[in-house]
């Protein structure tokens, strides 16, 4: 008998109305507001064990020996496993299989999993894990990414060298020549600290051993099939014996693209023959997933006196930490989007992804484009200032228009002109001036902490532009799969939409129902839980699911509609006059029959970047968001109150106004976090703030009201003409806020997050 957890993901009934383009309620909304939604941490099975991970306290060490005997003897303990117990292939990874399931003979970052314990109670498992004796020979960690990349004498984190990927981009004329012709040259080095996804629901899941020797996994992930392709070989199982069901996901933002507890829980379940649950606490979560790459970026721009950029040169170093994760693609993004959506005759970008013994980094909302955006937008402001031009005007002069090429030579098509977006942004009303007389603390930097009654407070305004690739790039044949089933239930036509796509909060379940309703004209739509009984949907990342899984649901619905029409004609001797008529007659036409169609949707092909020049049509779709930030800064204490954020974004087609606004708000808030407060602080390879006490996320008091202007320049290649929307606002809000602080303080501010001590004393 298969064991099913007490609280499992279930089918979602969608509201009975609302097609594409309308603000509809989420089908999972009621479950989420009643506490019934089954998140991965809520799963429970009678007799289940609790798994715990022993992690390395050192960022770099050799393991001389591991002694598990005392832990194994601890009452209540059912298994203690090390790398020797990994049943199959001992390494995994998104792009390079360089990460051991459990450390083998050495550890390369603080928090690397070394051993696993399963026991009848989490407390027992923790106590037992503390009794595992690991004899470490501690080594000096390699922590300087630049040195790791360029110093031939630097030790290697992995045998094959410290540079994971170097991607140059060479565009247009010779940079040295262009430099000679520039009237004004500015250069600067920028830094971006490590941002964490900090999803609120820590990593967790349940593994249930199957009678066939396989395993049932209930996990919260972003791409179930990518998990599966990594898990099955490590467990030594064929893919069909690893049955996966998506449990409720408490936020993702890129942090669930890599595996965390999946293989570990499965190993413990297979070894003990019992269900095993693993739940990380917040501290462990900081070590349990990859972060946003910290970056060090050296930029130099030249322009003519009349405000035209003539060259751009950039060196971008992204510290990928101990394992590759998605570093290669992050490098590709940083390189290809390294100077933003501007028309520059000569460009040279060198982007590097590097191995060190720092925390491993990979995907986070914005994926490589965020870091570069902070640098190139800071450069745009700096050059504008050097030329004595208004920052918006300077951007408009140099904005790439549809038909112009990016640094990779890829031509911008079917999108809103940046210059016009900036014009609209600048024309939006400004928030009222601060009332200098009153001092409502809530409106001042520092809030009720009562640090100023107006002293030192200056207002600043800043602008930011960001360009993000939508969907996977660089020649990857990306696709999504959808199964759509039409039947008559209780006399009413009912559609079931089944995909393996991860609903991570973005509202894909709402969108799938809207598409099915629009394409099939049916009121009743049910969303099946995501599992691997249907083909891959690809990842809930790269702002791609509306495009890809939306596209797959659309084509599957079209196939169902075609059969529906054919059946209508067979039964009634004529084609239906309209979709409505076909649906009206469905109960008699369909009877007990079921129409069940599965379709794959692929986007148009892209190209790999040329390894020497970076030239290629590497991106599927591009999207731009522009932000204006208005801030009040206490320039003496360095405290910032963001007064208002305004954004203009081109989304191709508004599929659901309410959830679209939510995406823009959310992306903007995370960009605000990076600008002002969010950073994993690392010293000598060790994380110093793995808690929500010291890793600060914006609260409701930090996130100001927003003005939005949403444009719809349809992309004819995309379903409904839509453009992915979740990531672009994460890019542009950061530089806009920092620009506004610079405007208020007059400081250069070359690093994010901007800390109070970077501003203080600037009055």
């Amino acid at each position: 008998m298969t064991m099913t957890p007490a609280k499992v993901p279930r089918e979602l009934d969608s509201p009975l109305d609302g097609g594409v383009g309308e603000s509809r309620r989420r089908p999972d909304g009621t479950l989420k507001v009643t506490g019934e939604f089954a998140y991965s941490s809520d799963l429970w099975l009678e007799g289940m064990l609790w798994g715990v991970t022993l992690r390395s306290p050192h960022p770099r060490a050799r393991i001389r020996s591991i002694d598990v005997s005392e832990a194994l003897a601890h009452p209540g303990v059912e298994a203690v496993l090390t790398h020797e117990d990994v049943p199959g292939f001992k390494f995994y990874g998104l792009e390079h299989k360089d990460q051991p399931v459990l450390a083998i003979d050495q550890v390369r970052y603080q928090g690397e999993p070394v051993a696993l314990v399963a026991a009848d109670h989490p407390e027992v498992a923790r106590r037992a894990a503390a009794k595992i004796k690991v004899d470490y020979e501690v080594l000096t960690p390699i922590t300087d990414a630049r040195r790791a990349a360029f110093d031939p004498d630097c030790e290697k984190v992995h045998e094959d060298g410290n540079v994971v990927r170097h991607q140059p981009v060479i565009f247009g004329g010779d940079v040295a020549e262009a430099r000679a012709g520039a009237d004004v040259i500015v250069s600067e080095t920028f830094e971006v600290g490590i941002q964490d996804q900090a999803f609120l629901g820590p990593e967790s899941g349940l593994a249930v051993p199957g009678e066939d020797g396989g395993v049932d996994l209930y996990v919260a992930t972003q791409w179930m099939h990518s998990d599966l392709w990594q898990i099955a070989p490590c467990l030594g199982l064929p893919e069909e014996k690893v049955r996966m069901t998506m449990a409720g996901v408490g936020g993702a933002f890129g942090g669930r693209e890599d595996l965390s507890m999946q293989i570990h829980a499965a190993m413990l379940a297979m070894r003990t023959g019992k269900p095993v649950k693993i739940v990380y606490n917040r501290e462990e979560s900081f070590f349990g997933h990859v972060h946003r790459h910290p970056a060090r970026m050296r930029y130099e721009y030249g322009a003519t006196r009349d405000g035209k950029l003539v060259f751009a040169e950039a060196e971008i170093i992204l510290d990928g930490g101990a394992y590759a994760s998605s570093t290669p693609n992050v490098v590709g993004n940083a390189a290809s989007l390294g100077v933003g959506p501007y028309k520059i005759p000569s460009i040279r970008v060198d982007a590097y992804g590097v191995y060190t013994n720092n925390p491993p980094c990979g995907a986070m909302r914005g994926f490589g484009a965020v870091q570069a955006c902070f640098a190139y937008e800071s450069m745009m402001d700096r050059m504008a200032a050097a030329l004595g031009l208004d920052p918006v005007t300077f951007r408009q002069i140099n904005a790439a228009h549809p038909g112009d090429a990016l640094a990779t030579g890829q031509v911008l098509e079917h999108m809103a002109p940046l210059a016009e977006m900036l014009g609209r942004l600048k024309a939006m009303p400004m928030p009222p001036e601060r009332d200098a007389a009153g001092h409502d603390l809530r409106e001042l930097p520092g809030g009720v902490s009562n640090t100023t009654h107006g002293e030192g407070v200056r207002r600043g305004v800043g602008y930011g532009v960001g360009i993000k690739n939508i969907c996977f790039s660089e020649g990857f044949d990306d696709y999504s799969t959808a199964r759509v089933r039409l039947s008559i239930i209780g006399g009413e036509p009912t559609v079931l939409v089944h995909t393996s796509a991860a609903e991570v909060g973005q509202g894909l379940v709402t969108l799938k129902a809207q598409i099915a309703r629009s394409e099939l004209g049916v009121r009743r739509v049910t969303i099946a839980p995501a599992d691997n009984q249907v083909g891959s949907a690809g990842s809930s990342s790269a702002s791609r699911q509306s495009y890809m899984t939306g596209g797959a649901v659309k084509v599957a619905c079209e196939a169902v509609r075609e059969r529906m029409f054919k059946l209508f004609e067979e039964r009634l001797g004529r084609p239906p006059a309209s979709l409505a008529e076909a649906v009206e007659h469905l109960p008699e036409v369909l009877g007990d029959e079921v129409i069940d169609e599965t379709r794959e949707f692929h986007h148009h092909r892209t190209e790999r970047m040329d390894p020497v020049t970076g030239q290629a049509n590497s991106h599927t779709q591009l999207a731009i968001c522009v932000h204006r930030a208005v801030v009040d800064v206490d320039v003496e204490l360095g405290l910032v109150k963001v007064v208002e954020l305004a954004a203009v974004q081109d989304v191709g087609k508004i599929m659901n106004p309410l959830s679209l606004e939510g995406q823009i708000h959310g992306g903007t808030a995370q960009g605000l976090g990076l600008a002002l407060m969010e950073e994993i602080v690392v010293a000598d390879g060790k994380v110093r703030n793995p808690s929500f006490t010291d890793y600060l996320i914006p609260t409701i008091l930090d996130m100001p009201p927003m003005r939005l202007d949403i444009l719809e320049y349809a992309d004819p290649r995309a379903p409904y003409g839509l453009r992915g929307a979740g990531e672009p606002p994460t890019l542009s809000s950061t530089p806009a806020i920092v620009a506004a602080i610079r405007d208020a303080s007059g400081l250069a501010l070359t690093r994010v997050p901007v800390r109070p001590e970077h501003i203080a004393g600037s009055s």
Partner: protein, 292 residues
């Protein structure tokens, strides 16, 4: 872990005498963090929630307020905001509304963290801490002598904190705290200030900028001497600035993940200068500060 539930103060003292390792708990907002992360495994917890008197406050014959150790911050703000404005201002920056519903000054004192928000206003207002043991009875510890080291206090292992005593504000009070976000933040550093017009004196308290919360004596003396109490003339900007410098000089901060030592010193000097300016302005306007 034993869980002790005295129903009276006497029982609580007896229990503490019996098990000096027992950790007192009221709101739990501090102790539970340690328990949840397994940082501390006390042999016993001493639940003070049934000792009703600890959650009450009263006016004493000496004119002071006696505030039970387990009165939560939310009530200090709501019930005592007018009379203890400095403490109330600090209280409203503690954690979140949820934490203010449960957390107590007694807990802040027991933990004796240099970052505790109640310490600077208690120091500035010359509060005294009433502690008691079954063996030796009651003793009053001035706030300035209570904090002895990082997370260490003058409390003996068999003693419990019963209350703090403090005069209702007779002059303006201020509290100012640096945090890198607008809510739910532990102090990077903080400063409390109280004017004591009848003694022509000011009190100060520095938070999160030394191993213990501490007063800035030199600054206090300097300002007391420079301020024109009787003539009520406006504050000289140079005096305010000097006061700020002296306040910062009293601190001994370190670099940590929340901020640099240099920034803390700078911020303290600014907060001290500003709070003195506001308080003096209020004094000239003839009033004490309401907790606004």
């Amino acid at each position: 872990m034993e869980f002790l539930r005295p129903t009276s103060w006497g029982e609580a003292l007896a229990a503490k005498a019996d098990a000096p390792g027992a950790v007192p708990i009221a709101g739990g907002t501090d102790v539970m963090v340690e328990l949840n992360f397994d940082k501390h495994r006390p042999e016993a917890l001493l639940d003070l929630n049934r000792v009703g008197e600890l959650a009450t406050w009263s006016e004493e014959e000496d004119g002071r307020l006696r505030v039970g150790a387990a009165v939560p911050y939310a009530r200090i703000i709501g019930e005592l905001g007018g009379r203890l404005p400095g403490l109330a201002m600090a209280a409203r920056t503690v954690g979140s509304p949820q934490i203010r519903n449960r957390g107590t000054v007694g807990g802040n004192l027991g933990a004796a963290s240099p970052a505790g928000d109640s310490h600077p206003p208690l120091l500035a207002a010359d509060a005294e801490i009433e502690v008691e043991s079954a063996a030796r009875g009651t003793r009053m510890i001035p706030a300035g002598e209570f904090y002895t080291g990082v997370k260490r206090s003058a409390l003996a292992p068999d003693e419990l904190i019963r209350a703090f005593h403090v005069r209702p504000a007779e002059g303006p009070q201020q509290f100012s705290k640096i945090g890198t976000r607008n809510a739910m933040v532990i102090a990077v550093c903080s400063f409390g200030l109280a004017l004591h017009p009848s003694d022509q004196r000011i009190g100060t308290g520095i938070g999160s900028a030394a191993p213990t919360p501490r007063r800035a004596f030199e600054a206090e003396e300097y300002a007391a001497g420079e301020l024109d109490w009787a003539g009520r003339s406006p504050l000289d900007e140079r005096v305010a600035r000097r006061f700020g410098e002296l306040a910062a000089r009293a601190a001994a901060p370190i670099d940590d993940v929340r901020g640099t030592a240099e920034y803390r010193l700078h911020a303290l000097s600014v907060m001290a200068r500003r709070t003195l300016t506001w308080a003096w302005k209020d004094y000239l306007n003839g009033g004490a500060t309401a907790c606004a």
